[in-house]
């Protein structure tokens, strides 16, 4: 060496040489990073696009208002309107009636969806929400105020299969009304399904005379919004229960609706990226180990430690950059394709009926790039440090590989991870999100993987010694492979552990998710059985704002022969907090001797006889406890009448249907307090010998029979479970990606090891082992490793599933569930994983044993 080493050329040369010879490992690592980044980025893009579009659509309905006044219920009395319109700080008051109205017929086809109809006063709406002004036909300009006209957005027309001039039937209570489609709403957002009517016509046709949904206010210039809001709230307190909200409240409310879902999905995507870290680590670690001699030689030739460290990190950076960039491109294409073909809804049901466009988000792209690069560097850091600090002289000798890795096997970081994970499980949610729950999962996973080598060494050395002590000399031949494999695993546990990292991570996650989903599904199924005790269910229309059955109609239904019992149910919406979505108020007959007969109680309950005298009980869903602090025994007021009546919380019930909260109360109490005599649903119990077909047929003959929808508990159950499975479809996809990444890890580490062990194989060939036997040994090694990974993964996965079931779910969605283990499925996955790991090990080793045994042995000496 007369010339100093050209650093740039050297590092390029080293890199290209390494990469050219180990394409498989390299590709596996890049694919792992790319998949992780792609998944995370795609989910982020889809969720962001869907959420933004959904918010924009929601916002477009309230236009440019400064404040909104609404009641706790869906509508309130219009007498407030002139008061606000003449308020001296108000420039414009825009009254709005907004209802979700059912479309008769084809309810299955349209997935029970409703059409959102806005009743607007064009004279005010043209200022406040100019995008919602209907465009009538040229010769019928007057239609904009007509008493039978409706204007539909393009998406609504397409959805309903109608055009301008067609009649449109709507279901209002048990009646069907017919409106005329007088024109379009050309400026409605793409995919937004809405209809607009004159407010006077809407009040009349939709049977809401005297009712408004909200009044939007535009304040005079110079009026301080916050001060005005406080003043108005005080003024309104004297008139009844009203909520004064700002556009920010609306945004928060819309965000709150889907936040838990979005965050959880993003977390799952992160998991895929996280799994990729172990793969990068194993690729890099093994690459460094394999090149120990090369690096030692370079050190002897004058390369400094610093330069060596830089070299390995540079390799990691290149790997991470290529993987991340590929991932970003893949993620963007995936997001664009998914949005184009499936819309923005990933199965949660929050974003139906919108058509979002994908927007490249530079900030998110940078974050995911840095994340991808970061984990690659993280995976490269330890091996790089090891390579740089190794003493060149011993490193040049053979057999130093495992010693090198033993530095990575200190138990302390792993134990710290495990302990901190356990501590995190005890911490409360932050901003209603189970942040610490997810951190605990990450810590458990990391801790488990760090402790893996020690554990593997322990298990395999115990197994090895047990096996050798039991084996008689005559039987030596048969278990020789197992003995060798075990000896290898027991004595070089660190390399084994690296291979195991990916397997463990992916299997742990599969186990955790499978247990969680199965627990959830079984719980939902049990819950459905409990909440659907009757023989037949009847409902009017399908909409949230359907008017329902009148007392005369309910009498007619009760008079149908063959009925043993009929329970009527009234459900409505109640807004208790402007920042949160409305809760459901359900009034029905509840068994006072044991409310558990009617409601799926969770256990926390006050027995009705123990309730204070003269108080009205309500039963709240678990979400009410978490979100509003409605604990059993507490006295609360509900704004369902003026003055607001007070109730005692008599118990908590489980509700998988409404994550924003629900309250149940006695129908008799509700009717006495509100004077609302309408009901929405009925549960029918049949007398012996009567079939549901007979009852349905006689009810259909009633004058309003056509407006009734019947369903049997079985139908509702299967429909609900269908929806459940659909909402977890994305989860299954994520699990699949985690498995693929895990297997890539096995392939990468085994092929790297097999090459590194060429000398070992050569030696074994010399002492008489056939290639077949060596491959068999590799298969056993792979199988044993994966078996250990599966067992450990199961234990770790079970722990994580406890976090998912008992911490993440209750904190995100506010419901609890029972634990259920899907043994069969998990066993099947474990076996498949073991088999594929063995095959991968054999396939990777095939190349290493194919060479000349003599050359292999000589190579080093």
């Amino acid at each position: 060496m007369t010339k100093p080493l050209n650093k740039g050329m050297l590092s390029r040369w080293l890199l290209s040489g390494e990469w050219r010879t180990h394409r498989v490992q390299l590709a596996a690592a890049i694919i792992a990073i790319a998949l992780g980044v792609a998944l995370g980025f795609a989910i982020h893009l889809i969720n962001t696009a869907a959420f933004n579009e959904f918010s924009a659509a929601a916002k477009s309905l309230s236009g440019q208002s400064d404040l909104q006044v609404r009641g706790p219920q869906v509508t309130f009395d219009e007498s407030l309107y002139p008061v606000l319109a003449q308020h001296r700080d108000v420039e414009l008051a825009n009254p709005v009636l907004e209802l979700d109205v059912a479309i008769p017929g084809n309810s299955q086809e349209r997935n029970n969806a409703t059409l959102k109809i806005l009743g607007l006063d064009i004279f005010h709406a043209s200022v406040m929400t100019p995008d919602l002004i209907g465009i009538p036909a040229e010769e019928k300009l007057f239609d904009i105020l007509a008493d039978d006209a409706i204007f539909l957005s393009p998406a609504a027309m397409e959805w309903l299969g109608v055009k301008q001039g067609d009649p449109l039937q709507l279901r209002v209570g048990t009646q069907t009304i017919t409106l005329r489609i007088a024109g379009g709403l050309t400026r409605a957002r793409a995919g937004q399904r809405i209809g607009v009517m004159d407010i006077g016509a809407a009040q009349w046709r939709l049977q809401r005379v005297g009712q408004l949904s909200r009044i939007e206010l535009k304040l005079l210039p110079g009026v301080d919004r916050a001060a005005f809001k406080t003043k108005l709230e005080q003024e309104l307190e004297l008139r009844g229960q009203y909520l004064v909200t700002e556009p920010a409240n609306e945004e928060t409310r819309v965000a709150n609706m889907s936040r838990a879902y979005r965050v959880n999905l993003n977390m799952l995507a992160m998991v895929a990226l996280f799994t990729g870290t172990f793969l990068v680590f194993s690729t890099q670690a093994l690459s460094v180990v394999r090149r120990r001699h090369q690096f030692a030689l370079l050190r002897v030739l004058g390369l400094t430690r610093r330069q060596l460290l830089g070299q390995v990190l540079f390799e990691g950076t290149a790997l991470g950059a290529i993987g991340s960039l590929t991932g970003l491109a893949l993620g963007y294409v995936t997001a664009a394709t998914a949005l184009h073909y499936f819309g923005g809804d990933l199965g949660g049901g929050f974003f139906t009926g919108i058509k979002p466009d994908v927007h490249f988000d530079l900030l998110a792209a940078s974050v995911f790039f840095i994340l991808g690069l970061g984990i690659t560097l993280l995976g490269s850091a330890a091996p790089a440090w090891e390579a740089a600090t190794a003493n060149p002289a011993p490193a040049l000798k053979s057999g130093s590989e495992d010693i090198a890795l033993s530095k990575l096997a200190t138990p302390w970081p792993g134990l710290i991870c495990l302990v901190s994970g356990i501590v995190f499980t005890q911490l409360p949610p932050i901003f209603d999100l189970p942040i610490f729950g997810y951190l605990a999962i990450a810590q458990l996973l990391t801790g488990g993987i760090i402790l893996m080598p020690r554990f593997a060494a322990l298990v395999f050395s115990v197994a090895s010694s047990t096996l050798s002590s039991r084996t008689s000399p005559a039987q030596v031949a048969a278990p020789a492979l197992t003995t060798l494999a075990l000896a290898r695993l027991a004595n070089a546990p660190n390399q084994a552990a690296i291979a195991l990292g990916g397997v463990l991570a992916s299997f742990t996650l599969i186990v955790a998710m499978a247990i969680m989903v199965s627990s959830f599904r079984v719980s939902v199924d049990d819950w459905l059985k409990h909440v659907l005790p009757a023989d037949l269910y009847l409902r009017t229309g399908t909409g949230g704002d359907a008017r329902g059955l009148t007392p005369a109609e309910t009498k007619a239904l009760e008079a149908i022969p063959g009925l043993a019992r009929v329970d009527f149910l009234r459900s409505s919406q109640l807004a208790l907090d402007p920042d949160r979505p409305s809760i459901a108020l359900i009034a029905r007959p509840i068994d006072m001797t044991d409310p558990g007969n009617t409601l799926p109680m969770t256990g926390e309950a006050i027995s009705p006889p123990l309730l204070p005298e003269g108080t009205m009980p309500i039963w709240v869903s678990e979400a009410m406890v978490d979100l509003y602090g409605y604990t059993p025994g507490k006295r609360v007021t509900l704004p369902i009448a003026t003055p607001a009546p007070s109730f005692v919380i008599a118990g908590v019930w489980r509700d998988y249907g409404r994550q924003f909260g629900a309250i149940q109360m006695q129908l008799a109490d509700y009717q006495a307090l509100t004077g609302d005599r309408l009901v929405n649903d009925a549960a029918l119990w049949l007398q012996n010998g009567t079939t549901s077909e007979q009852v349905i047929a006689s009810m259909r003959r009633l004058p309003f029979g056509d407006a009734l929808d019947f369903s049997e508990p079985g139908q509702i159950r299967s429909l609900s479970l269908n929806i459940f499975d659909r909402s977890f479809a994305v989860t299954y996809l994520l699990e699949g990606v985690a498995v693929v990444i895990g297997l890539l890890g096995v392939a990468a580490s085994f092929s790297a090891q097999a090459l590194a062990r060429t000398r070992e194989f050569g030696m074994l060939r010399h002492i008489g082992m056939t290639r077949r036997q060596i491959l068999g040994m590799l298969a056993v090694e792979g199988g044993l490793l994966t078996a250990l990974g599966a067992v450990l993964g199961f234990v770790l996965g079970w722990c994580i599933s406890l976090i998912l079931v008992f911490i993440v779910n209750p904190q995100s969605f506010h419901w609890t569930m029972q634990l259920n283990l899907p043994w069969k499925g998990l066993l099947a996955v474990a076996l498949i994983l073991m088999a594929s790991a063995s095959m991968t090990a054999v396939a990777s080793g095939r190349h290493a044993v194919s060479g000349n045994a003599v050359r292999a042995v000589r190579e080093d000496w």
Binding site: Q64, E78, Y81, P82, A85, Q86, P95, G119, D121, I122, F123, H124, S126, V127, P130, D131, I133, I135, E138, E139, K140, L141, F142, L145, A146, D147, D148, R180, T186, R187, D198, I199, G200, A201, Q203, W204, V209, G210
Partner: protein
């Protein structure tokens, strides 16, 4: 004479509305007054498809007007308006012109709709202030459905309100009006000095050759004005003379009509002159009328063939390209009147909001060459239909 302005279905307003819609689709602009013209237009133009459209009273001859009842609203007729115009004088003796109009328009909306929001009647208001120092009109408009005490026209006596704009006739006959427009405010009281002037045949005012083409129409000329005008936050006291028209009808303009020219003038000797001409599409005269009442109360009526309008000078609007005959010679029998505008640009261009474009402004009037008085002059139908 505002019925004519509102009834043109063929020239300026109709395309104007469409342009508004077109603009609406492109950018969010306030359309508060979108309906000022289009409703009145569509009352006549639209083929009504409703199950139970309301039935309106016809305008018939020999139905004497009775006061004070007829000062108030007549909801059984389709259209109605109160229209006040006049000349004001500032403390510096500078002249200003003003126009305040309240319309009530009945819709075809089903009368059995029990909703208080049912748009059975719409209230529309226009206001304009003409100041030669500004060089153009300041104007604003409002519209709303009648109801909730926020917008109404009351029966029994003049009492109209639209938000914070109102026109009320007190028991003693004095009118109070308040307009809080975007760029100016008017607080005026108008005190009658003469009894109402019933137009044409005792208040039965013909608008075309057919008998149903008519309205009920009386004027309150020679109203003494006092009050304040506020501009750019500065309030000044004003006084002057004003003219108030109240007109209601159901039937509509002749289909051949293209536009009209109208004048109402308070003459210095205490006489009052009202004249109008309805122009046909062929450029000819569809109908014309003039009525003059002298200080002693003697009323002279002129038939269509006795009234001629002859443009003397035109002014071309730089904004709309419309050419208006801003100086007009009117001959009633043997008398020749000449109208000279306070300023040329008194065009009311509200294409950005209502789509309506017309010229409405203060004029001085000479009789046979001698200065005779001051009035208000209105010209519609001079904007070419928009080519879309």
């Amino acid at each position: 004479m505002h019925i004519l302005k509102c009834c043109s279905t063929h020239t300026d307003f109709f395309p104007g509305y469409w342009r508004s819609i077109f603009q609406l689709m492109r950018r969010p602009i306030p359309l508060q007054g979108l309906f000022v013209t289009f409703f009145v237009v569509t009352c006549f133009a639209a083929t009504c498809v409703f199950a139970t459209p309301p039935r309106f009273s016809p305008v018939v001859r020999d139905m004497p007007l009775t006061f004070p009842h007829d000062f108030g609203d007549h909801p059984s007729f389709r259209n109605e308006w109160w229209y006040a115009t006049g000349w004001l004088e500032t403390p510096e003796k500078k002249p200003l012109g003003f126009q305040i109009t309240f319309f009530r328009v009945a819709t075809e909306h089903d009368r059995t709709n029990p909703s208080r929001f049912a748009p059975q009647h719409l209230i529309i208001a226009h206001a304009a202030l003409s100041d030669p120092a500004a060089g153009k009109l300041l104007h604003d408009q409002k519209s709303a459905r009648e109801g909730f005490g926020l917008a109404y026209t009351k029966e029994g006596n003049t009492d109209v309100k639209l938000g914070d704009w109102y026109l009320v006739r007190e028991e003693n006959g004095r009118y109070q009006t308040s307009i809080k427009a975007e760029d100016f405010m008017l607080h005026l009281s108008l005190t009658p000095t003469q009894p109402p002037m019933l137009q044409d045949i005792n208040g039965f005012s013909r608008k075309g050759p057919r008998p149903e083409q008519a309205s009920y129409y009386y004027s309150e000329p020679q109203l003494q004005v006092s009050g304040t005008v506020t501009r750019t936050g500065k309030e000044i006291a004003v006084s002057g003379v004003a003219w108030l028209d109240h007109e209601w009808s159901t039937a509509y303009l002749d289909p051949a009509a293209d536009g009209w020219d109208w004048v109402g003038a308070n003459l210095d000797d205490g006489s009052s002159l009202m004249a109008f001409r309805i122009r046909g599409k062929d450029g000819g005269k569809v109908w014309a009328y003039a009525g003059i009442r002298d200080p002693s109360g003697r009323f002279t009526k002129f038939e269509p063939e006795q009234v001629t309008f002859e443009p003397q000078r035109t002014w071309r609007s730089p904004l709309t390209n419309a050419t208006y005959p801003v100086e007009m010679q009117i001959t009633t029998g043997s008398t020749v009147w000449l109208l000279t505008p306070l300023q040329d640009d008194q065009e009311l261009d509200s294409r950005q909001s209502t789509g309506a474009v017309y010229w409405e402004g203060a004029v001085t009037v000479t009789r046979d060459g001698e200065p005779a008085g001051r009035g208000y002059y209105e010209m519609t139908g001079y904007v070419e239909p928009l080519e879309l």
